[in-house]
Symmetry: C2
Subunit: 272 residues, 2 copies
Amino acid sequence: MTVSESRLTRITDPADPRIEAYRDIRERDLVRRHGHFIAEGKTVLQVLVAQDRFPVHSLLVLENRVGGIADLIGAMPESVPVYCAAQDVMDAIAGFHIHRGILAIARIPDNIAIPPEPLPASWRTVLLLSGISNHDNMGGIFRNAAAFGVDAVLLDPQCCDPLYRKAVRVSVGGVLRVPFFRTASMQDAVERLGRNGVAVAALSPAGRIDIANWKPASRQALVLGSEGHGLAPEWLTRLETLSIGMAPGFDSLNVATAGAVALHQLRTARGD
Amino acid sequence: MTVSESRLTRITDPADPRIEAYRDIRERDLVRRHGHFIAEGKTVLQVLVAQDRFPVHSLLVLENRVGGIADLIGAMPESVPVYCAAQDVMDAIAGFHIHRGILAIARIPDNIAIPPEPLPASWRTVLLLSGISNHDNMGGIFRNAAAFGVDAVLLDPQCCDPLYRKAVRVSVGGVLRVPFFRTASMQDAVERLGRNGVAVAALSPAGRIDIANWKPASRQALVLGSEGHGLAPEWLTRLETLSIGMAPGFDSLNVATAGAVALHQLRTARGD
């Protein structure tokens, strides 16, 4: 499969206003983007093109990488511009060396913020994240959520943005596969799950039940707290809590890794 | 607990030859260090001080962080210099902003390279790493190995250095807790394990046994291959292979995360 020249928009001037959204990517990471996010690399682009929650706005591709994503370009509407540039132009636009050679801008619709009420009956496995502020951890959690077939992720207000560039990249597109929703507070999220018949359990090094002996509910939410401080004591008291058995003296797993162990255990306990 | 002034060596000139080993840390990361490595932060220093495989050579500490590690300084021999500097001097020495404020140099003894023969009978759980070339992954694997009580890690020649600065940091000191050894080749490592009565199984997305149904041996090695290409087909044919059940269409776990799931499963299956 090849891409016809007429499908491409050649960019030769880094100051071209048409590629404004790609300019100075790293500096713009520091301020919140309004209504769009950046996806990098072929693997993430594959996930982006395969979903319809976040419409693709445009692509900026290194000229020698166009052939390698011809099928993905073919799968997108003709109305999506495919900008194409040489390495030096692309690097000058982005403000650093784009070695993957593939960037996309996608739109964030207004209606993704709030979880539906009632929660869809199809949701069997839900993650509830509290105070996950590190983008690597956020990306890792979504990568694992996608791998283990999590149906939705709820975020409390202290969580960082899953659509931040680095989180998207680390998730290998998982943030585009697993629907996520902001909630007003932990209280709101836990109540929402409860009145919809979804059981809630929290992962904690001090958890009362060894996760190896855990019997998850048919509809189950798992709470992951911030890596530094863990979940607020209030929630550790109010919720069922699960621990992962570890060697003495080093009970330290990364929060995304702990979540993966728990999701695998949940899947195994259910016989999925 | 406090640290007496006489225990500290004040550094006011970034060009002071006594702190040569701390100079231009990032540039030196690019060449292999000879016989020593750098540990950063209080948590890693705690692990470093608690072990005796890698003797501490010296410390370089921000002046306002000395009080917070007084107990660790007290636990080290008086012969280990504790250099102490203001933030601007410390940053000028290291070549970038050292926000953790705590650096240590430790020695790598000559005799750590080759696994003992016979392998110690106390080794029940061993990791064998093949072609793990990313320092984040290496650090993550060791963090998980320490958390799940792995007895030793064997590395094939294509693995990167677990004592590289970033790997040490990501491991949260795990590389200092779990003994590791270089082997001449995968062939050598697998034979060595076999003749010592240690069973060998490899983790692979194409694995023949679902790890949830796996019955590990009483002495068991688990092989993790490179994230990009996976384990060489030769080994997937010759070894028992294990897969982790995932959602269709996204069978993508980070290698360190997959290793954590497998180590937890191994621990659970044994009833540890």
